[in-house]
């Protein structure tokens, strides 16, 4: 820092600021990532420390199909973002609907898995450490999927009534950012739960 006067050119460029929605959603994602990290750490820390009860290896089946559904939904939502940015509203509605369907399929997969674990394998949240950490981690993720789907259904409904127009692309992208986050979290959860802990 000088105490001698400096020469300046007068900067007359456009005054540009980042978009509020993207910044805010990124902040929310940061906060939520931290919550997920804590549950993942708890899951990893307690691996192998059960006193009794079924282990991951014994009861977990790798949900390949449902994972493909969820992760591919990120591609389809990207197609939807692209469509609304280029004012192709019919395409937007199509890809948006596909995304929602894929998300619902994933949720169904989780529900089916939990049904099997609870009814056939007698694994509940109170059975042992694995049960506690598994249901809370996968459940936390599933709750984020549910919130995302609810928001997307609202957008779908608004769109069917013609209330969603190309100038709303920015808001749709903000929501899509959340959905990409949900998918990214699943990559981590899937790796930790179905790959690492089944060793």
């Amino acid at each position: 820092m000088a105490t001698i006067p400096l020469e300046h050119g007068t900067a007359q460029g456009e005054w540009r600021l980042p978009s509020r929605g993207t910044v805010a959603m990124s902040c929310l994602i940061t906060a939520e990532s931290t919550i997920f990290t804590i549950f993942v750490v708890a899951y990893l820390y307690y691996m192998g420390r059960d006193v009794q009860g079924p282990t991951p290896k014994e009861v977990l089946e790798v949900p390949i199909f449902y994972t493909v559904c969820l992760l591919s939904s990120s591609f389809f939502i990207w197609l939807a973002e692209h469509a609304i940015e280029h004012a192709k509203m019919a395409a937007f509605r199509l890809w948006w609907g596909v995304t929602i369907l894929l998300g619902l399929t994933f949720l169904y997969g989780t529900a089916a898995e939990w049904y099997k674990l609870i009814v056939h394998d007698h694994l509940t949240i109170s059975t042992n450490l694995f049960g506690t950490t598994y249901y809370s981690l996968v459940g936390l993720h599933a709750s984020h999927v549910i919130v995302g789907l609810i928001m997307m259904l609202f957008v779908m409904a608004f769109s069917l009534f013609g209330a969603v127009r190309p100038e709303h692309a920015y808001r749709v992208k903000t929501l899509a950012l959340y959905w990409h986050f949900v998918d990214a979290v699943w990559v981590v959860v899937f790796t930790v739960v179905y790959v690492v802990s089944r060793q």
Binding site: A2, T3, H8, R20, V23, A31, I38, N128
Partner: protein, 573 residues
Amino acid sequence: MADQSLPVGHGIPSGQGIEAALDRTPAHGGRGTYLEVIHSWIVTVDHKKLGILYIAYALVFLLVAGAEAMLIRIQLIKPHNDFVSPFTFDRLFTMHGTTMVFLVGMPILFGFGNYLVPLMIGARDMAFPRLNAFSFWISAFAGILLYYSFIGGVGLSGTGSAPDIAWFAYAPLTEKAFSPGHTTDYWAIAILASGIGSIGTAINIIATVFCMRCKGMTLMRLPLLAWLYATMSFLALVAISPLTACQAMLLIDRYLGGHFFDTQAGGSAILWAHFFWIFGHPEVYVLVLPPFAFANEIIPVFSRKAIFGYPAMVAASVGIGFISLGVWAHHMFTIGMTSFGNAFFTLSTMLVAIPTGIKTFNWLATIWGGKVRFETPMLFSVAFLFQWVIAGLTGVMLSVSAWNWQLHNSYFVVAHFHYVLVGAIVFMIFAAIYYWYPKMTGRMLNEKLGKWHFWLMVVGFHMTFDVMHFPGLLGMPRQIYTYEPDRGWNTLNFIITIGAFIQAIAVLIFVYNMVHSYFRGEDAGPDPWDAWTLEWATASPPPAYNFAVEPEVASRRPLWDVKHPEDPDSAFE
């Protein structure tokens, strides 16, 4: 009629013309019936009103938690005292700590952020006004829920189900087996709700600072207050979330039969400690960065010099934020980590002293060569500087893990963190109130009462918290409802309690000053302190729209440029 704000950057008359350009009529008239006024406060989304709501809410709880502290100190004034039962005492210190952190510290600091950040960056409001209102009301609900616990459960006698598990609620004491009642549940749910409000406000502040700046205000021209609030908000995002996770895990254990902290099932008590302090340590930086922000604004104005080393201050502030994420286990040196773990956290904790020291020296250099005026805001800031140095040094002492094995969980730690929380944070909050009350209300606080408040606080604070280090050094642990008479702690505790009473009197004088000056205070005008940031370029209190014309700035001190056109900052940046 002249506009209520100065059109900064759009060709304003210099010198005396500024005064004429600004409408100084205090906006007191024509507000409507009482019911309309109350309604407007309840439905408001205006950052200024919400800021004042946060501050008022926090001040109410300051008095409540202060009363809890007085009861604690009365119980400890002599050994084997029976002023309160151990059960009541445990609730008092748990509620005192929980209230001060979550219902006083966070709200009052978010309140100031809410009020000041948009004004100082030349914006119309926060980025998300409705989220702002939601965050306030959920925080308010959380406080009411927490205090409802006193009458929930067994009722007023025996102080109901108020939390009694210590503010950090260590497992497994909080598991159903050891806390069968609802005290833990009130704690967990109330703090969870308040955390949601805090995360909402943190998102709002970051979005505001990055996306709502007026023309010409590049990041390196942001007032340091905005930088510090952005850093503090980032810390809040990554710190409060672990606490939310902790509380969810605790509730899962208590109500769904989970085993996160159930040692019988192989669970771990250490895991709670790690997760809690991953929140707890950054949390104290969340609490201390805004007071640094106030110091960054107040000290230059009262020294009549620009802050020394602005880029270094930015780097130091952001650095403190990041380093503070890696020091948490210095609260756990005695829990049985490996020697390598202890060494790592010793080093990381000592490292945070570097940027903190940089800030302290920059404040010193700001004063150096200035012309220091000692009105009340500066008095509190000066006391803050001395007290901050001491607090930081006792923090360094505590970071020495091998010595920490003696000091941990003793009154030395209680003295250290009260030195930070009261000596640094509360003192700077007082400074901020004396400095910005005129802006918020249009009236000056009484200087004479301010000086009484200040000197009584200084005497009481030092009497209590300087002395409090010694029982810790003599083996007195914390969170005990009584102590043995043959340990040499008796006289020390007596003095500590007397100091608490003196501080209580100081705070009462302060409350009287706030109320009295609202009705009878001297008219403040837009810029009573001859300051340089944008909030002083509009009326006191500001109109709802803040600035009639969006300001355009060319330096870090836009009003300095206006007042000193022959020597503007913009030539030097």
